[in-house]
Amino acid sequence: MPKRTDLKSILLVGSGPIIIGQACEFDYSGTQACKALREEGYRIVLVNSNPATIMTDPEMADATYIEPITPAALRKIIARERPDAILPTLGGQTALNNAMALAEDGTLKEFACEMIGATAEVIRRAESREEFAAVISGLGLKMAKGEKATTWEQCQAVRTRIGLPCMIRPSFTMGGSGGGLATTDEQFEAICKRGLHASRTHELSIEESLYGWKEFELEVMRDRKDNVVIICSIENLDPMGIHTGDSITVAPIQTLTDREYQRMRDAALAIIRAVGVECGGSNIQFAVNPVDGRMVVIEMNPRVSRSSALASKATGFPIAKIAAKLACGYTLDELKNDITRETPACFEPTIDYVVTKIPRFAFEKFREADDTLGYQMKSVGEVMAIGRTFRESLQKALRGLEIGVPGLMGKKADEVGDPAKKADYLRQATRPTSHRLFQVRLAMQAGATIDELATTTGIDPWFLRHIAGIVEHEARLRISGFNGIDAGTFRTAKRDGFSDRQLGLLWNTSEEQVRARRWQFGIHPAYKLVDTCAAEFAALTPYYYSSYDDESEAPPADPRSIMVLGGGPNRIGQGIEFDYCCCHAAFALRADGWRVIMVNSNPETVSTDYDTSDYLFFEPLTAEDVLEINRVMRPHGAIVQFGGQTPLNLSLALERAGVPIIGTTPEDIDRAGDRELFRDLLEKVNLRQPANGIARSLEEAAQVAERIGYPVVVRPSHVLGGRAMEIVPGKGDLKRYVQEAMDVNPGSPVLIDKYLENAAEIDVDALADGIDCVIGGVLEHIEEAGVHSGDAACAIPAYSLSDRLVNRMKEITAALARNLRVRGLMNVQFAVRNDDIYLLEVNPRASRTVPFVAKATGLPLAKIAALVQAGRTLKDLGVTTPEIRARCEPKYFAVKESVLPFNKFPGVDTLLGPEMRSTGEVMGIAPTFGEAYYKAEMGSGSTVPLSGKIFISVRDSDKRLIIPLAQQLHDMGYQVYCTQGTSVVLESGGVPVKVLNKIKDGGDTVLGHLKELAFVINTPNAKGGKSDEGKLRSACAVTGVPYYLTLASAAALVSALRQVKRTDWQVRSLQELLPDRGVWRPANG
């Protein structure tokens, strides 16, 4: 069946900000869908609140709405654009839930907008546990025993029937949010109550526990002619009980016979048909009892998912692209397999390698959080690796994880299991955590058997035996040593995935020495193709991975190529924003006649789409792996300033090894981080910085702090996202924080700055080419300095600073660019207090705000920077003209708000500080600051009601300043609740209030009123999840009550509410707002 001609325009819904459980995989799928549908001539209306996505690039759609993904905003867009259809299956659970809401409230019917990809009925059948269970039982398949409940009373009744342990899952949530395993009555109550709130339908399913069963996933596609194929099978190394997003997973399935696999396949086909997914992709999860093979169905996602992104990267089959084509009418047999371009897309990919995915966590940023892994997803990113054997693939994934380990071993050579501690290791391995694999290794070294470990961990013996194989190989390598090593032994080690750094640790020598010897032996990896068909057909798409195998299929060296180093697994502080920059570099360079080599290990990204570059190398971002690619490809240059800290950390090693780094030199990048050189630089540009010093010991730190005076900011050098950065109010806390900072980056000094209280913070993103400097944007933070710039909300243009200050900061930026010899991107952070400008930091590289600035101004900074690095000048590109320079101060406001994961970490204080903790961001764009801020808040999940009850609790120093805000809120009709202390001040200021008890005093406290509150304003006195305020903030995060923790953000909110109460907020496409419809092209391109 050819494509549908009755549809002209399609609304594609994205997934919004990056949050735990919903990351940039949906930008990857949405971007593929945009390309696929426009290729067919449809008009695409796109909505996504996340400015760091590729899909929201104005050239990707005909009308791009960076607007909140809420039913209200979607309704406004539909009313304006009148799309014929809405495609909700490519934007994760967010898109699905919103489309369902529009179906249920009649909007889709009212505007004759058809839901394509999956109908409301199908979505309901797949997502409602009860309806799904009915389908499954109708097929003669089994599910875990379970019932649903919508009230706490029902939960208790179900509990008596099913017993403990049991699994609780809310309906309609993503990443298992709010669910969990209950083994005690207390846990049962806590999880049920949390889950009832988290579910959109206030519906929970309570099921018998399958803890310890083997877990599998199948990626299934179906077309409207009822052709069904399995794209990929995935086996979880971690057993049932650990969310698949938090599990190490392997493709394809390893421990099922064909007969067992085919039964699962039969079941998947039957399920997708019975649920009625007419066309598109679905993910179906199964559990298998390892003892007798009993198979049960866990769940189904009737949409493109995180696993389907992984499956696409694992097999080369573009699930989202094909799903989009199926949604507009094609059938699988009518579409070609992109990779072979000969055979049809209607087939089942077969692979001849092993893919391992390992999640990446951020518990170090949430110290109060429980790091036990369970049914609720907690990881923030993932790494994927491809090897010819499981061992090679696992070790590549571990070194690609960038957590300091070089493979399956500790960070140091002497971290070896002690036989005396075997029982301890086994006990620790019982609890699933992010580092369990390392405990398994220690336990093996201490003498634990495969059986013991299989029992304690639930990991299949097949995986454990391979892990044991690596551990035994490590022991042999320690014995053989470096000096007498022969080529055969060396090659065997490489074939088991041992990295040069790992061998260096085992052999007590340097990574460079190991590499030199390896190269002497002529031992290099072969590059193999990902081709969907195990070499049965010729593949045309250059998607490579390395393996220590014999025959290399690498392309010939390409001097007209530029290598772009990506950012590796997503983590807090380094995520989609940097991948966006890498993609833009690829787009711009390819358009300018270069061929691009992309190196990355993150399967969620657009950068690892085989369409993005000319040569995709899916490899860990380590010096070893990049040097081998460089050796084979011989690119003209490598770009390291776009992928965040990961490639920057490699740049010196790469340059030393002869990789030509283009753009700002690694020395100059390093110089910006060098405190002494930095001070000289400041003198040159005649600028102040906060008093500061460097300390290499606790004593030195105390001296520096004493000299500059408390409060001080303490942080380790050379880290991203403000890791272990803290504001230290006084002597008492200094030691602890300095120690932590030292542990983060051992050997590097700790930086100590005077903390500027109540200063405004400003980010400036700029481009420079050695001659000119062009300001991309001046971003004024909403929160004061001290909140990490990645967590702070900010606005373009600056909304409160004088032109004089803004111009001065632009001048300073230009001077810094000149002095630092910046070629490419640069980010400068300033603090402003009492009209004095302080320089906080200069980073001659892409910053997290680059995509936001580009979306706000229509000037694609990363593209221009890539061309500058490749040798073009700003002038030649046409960006030094007054018109382009004026773009950094648009006539409208764009506000960026960050999104924090505290709802996943109950009991953790949500207070913001210098350590970044947000996972994602949204943008609001509008003619007034107030409307833009309101929409940014809405996009981040805080739709602030325009009337109702509010709670205010502020610290003493803010009490005077809160009066006018509280007065305005009262005048707008809000009823103000507060505690005794705040009430005295507010009442004296003439604001009527209702007084509540403090939480610690019990009785009528704010916690009892949470559900009625429109929002909370709380400026903190005390920190920590156990303090009264900490409890309040955490409760707000978990229950979804909007909360404002600084006077500045409260003031911004008040101005937003005033604006929106005056005139309702509107939706506008970027193409309407931005100059040239948001599309920039080089002048002489």
Binding site: V229, Q262, G293, L332, T343, V354, E536
Partner: protein, 384 residues
């Protein structure tokens, strides 16, 4: 570590580890792209005379179990893997793959770049090879041995794997103990008051075919491939089945003659793989050798009657040339990967065949409906 060599007739030598029986064995090197099903592949008589390389690198993970045997023993001449698992993990496993290979006398090699081998076979076509674990033989001797292997073209191997005498088969498909839908009573299948009798001509028949015929409600008699039409018809069959098997179909002349006589009757007839080729030859069509064949479980097959696509298990090196079919026989299925003929049917008689493996074992059950179709045609004829 015991070493082994895989030596191709073009002189290429792969050095790896010996993981099967000791010795030197020759055959035609082919590759199979299935990620599961190595046990079924090893025990499928159609692999007689072939050295099978698995393209999926981790093989043997689930060991060997008695239920998944496709015949009484392993038939492949030799077995090639990237990484052979010594200690399996699966609740049904009773033996490890290396132990099975040794006990079955199958010479096997692992640790070689199987993708390089696959690419060579794709580009150069299936070629003869030897695997040897014997150090005493020089590389040159092994190259010479591989070159002296008989060509698959013109080779009658069916007679080497067929049964010696007729026998009955009564074991049905395994109960669906994993709770999948196939376990439910199958809708749309005919119910027979009395078991119709099916005679299956054994050119190397897979057990899963026999099991499915029994499950379809038939009484099954298996006869040698050399059985004459007269002897066969004397068994008073209600339908005839033509099995899969190894070698060049054109060389299986006795069976072709038998089938030619049977298609002159109106008996329902169903052929699979070699059986399909034999049916084509009996109709006067020609068969030809494919460059490197189709072996795997993921090929798309389109049913020409309605355009539906099924994913099917494959194992064949020859194909029927549809241009040479007589006017009363038409192509019913096509392989979408390369457009080769994947199925034949008589325009008026209930006689049809497919090139692929609807019995699965290994592979998907998508084309299982063909057994239902056969059962219906037998049922219709009995009712008429």
């Amino acid at each position: 570590m015991p070493t082994a060599r895989l030596v191709l007739a073009d002189g290429t030598i792969f050095r790896g580890r010996s993981v099967g029986a000791e010795g030197t064995i020759g055959g035609e090197a082919v590759f199979n792209t299935g990620m599961t099903g190595y046990q079924e592949v090893l025990t499928d008589p159609s692999y007689r005379g072939q050295i099978v390389a698995m393209t999926y690198p981790e093989i043997g993970n689930t060991g060997i179990n008695p239920a998944d045997m496709e015949s009484a023993k392993a038939h492949a001449a030799g077995f090639v893997m990237r990484n052979c698992c010594e200690i399996p993990s699966n609740f049904r496993s009773t033996e490890s793959l290396p132990s099975f290979l040794r006990s079955q006398g199958i010479v096997a090699i692992d640790g070689i770049d199987t993708r390089a081998l696959t690419r060579k076979l794709r580009l150069g076509g299936a070629m003869n090879a030897v695997i040897s674990s014997q150090q005493a033989l020089s590389d040159a001797e092994l190259v010479a041995r591989s070159r002296s292997q008989p060509s698959m073209d013109g080779l009658d191997l069916a007679s080497t794997v067929t049964c010696a005498a007729p026998y009955g088969w009564s074991e049905p498909s395994q109960p669906q103990d994993f709770g999948t839908p196939a376990g439910a009573p199958l809708p749309g299948w005919p119910v027979f008051a009395k078991q119709p009798h099916i005679v299956a001509i054994d050119c190397g028949i897979k057990r899963n075919i026999l099991r499915l015929l029994v499950s379809a409600g038939f009484r099954v008699t298996v006869v040698p491939s050399t059985t004459s039409a007269d002897d066969l018809l004397r068994l008073r069959p209600d339908g005839v089945f033509l099995s899969n098997g190894p070698g060049d179909p054109a060389a299986v002349t006795a069976t072709i003659a038998t089938v030619r006589a049977i298609i002159a009757t109106d008996l329902p007839l169903f052929g699979i793989c070699l059986g399909h080729q034999i049916l084509g030859l009996a109709h006067g069509a020609r068969t030809f050798k494919l460059k490197f064949g189709h072996r795997g479980v993921n090929h798309p097959i389109q049913r020409l009657s309605d355009g539906a696509v099924e994913i099917a298990s494959h194992n064949h090196g020859f194909a029927v040339d549809p241009a040479t079919l007589p006017s009363d026989v038409r192509m019913s299925h096509v392989n979408l990967n390369d457009g080769t003929c994947a199925g034949l049917e008589h325009i008026s008689k209930p006689q049809f065949s497919v090139q692929y493996h609807p019995e699965a074992g290994p592979g998907p059950a998508d084309p299982l409906y063909l057994f239902r179709r056969f059962a219906r045609s037998v049922s219709d004829r009995l009712a008429a």
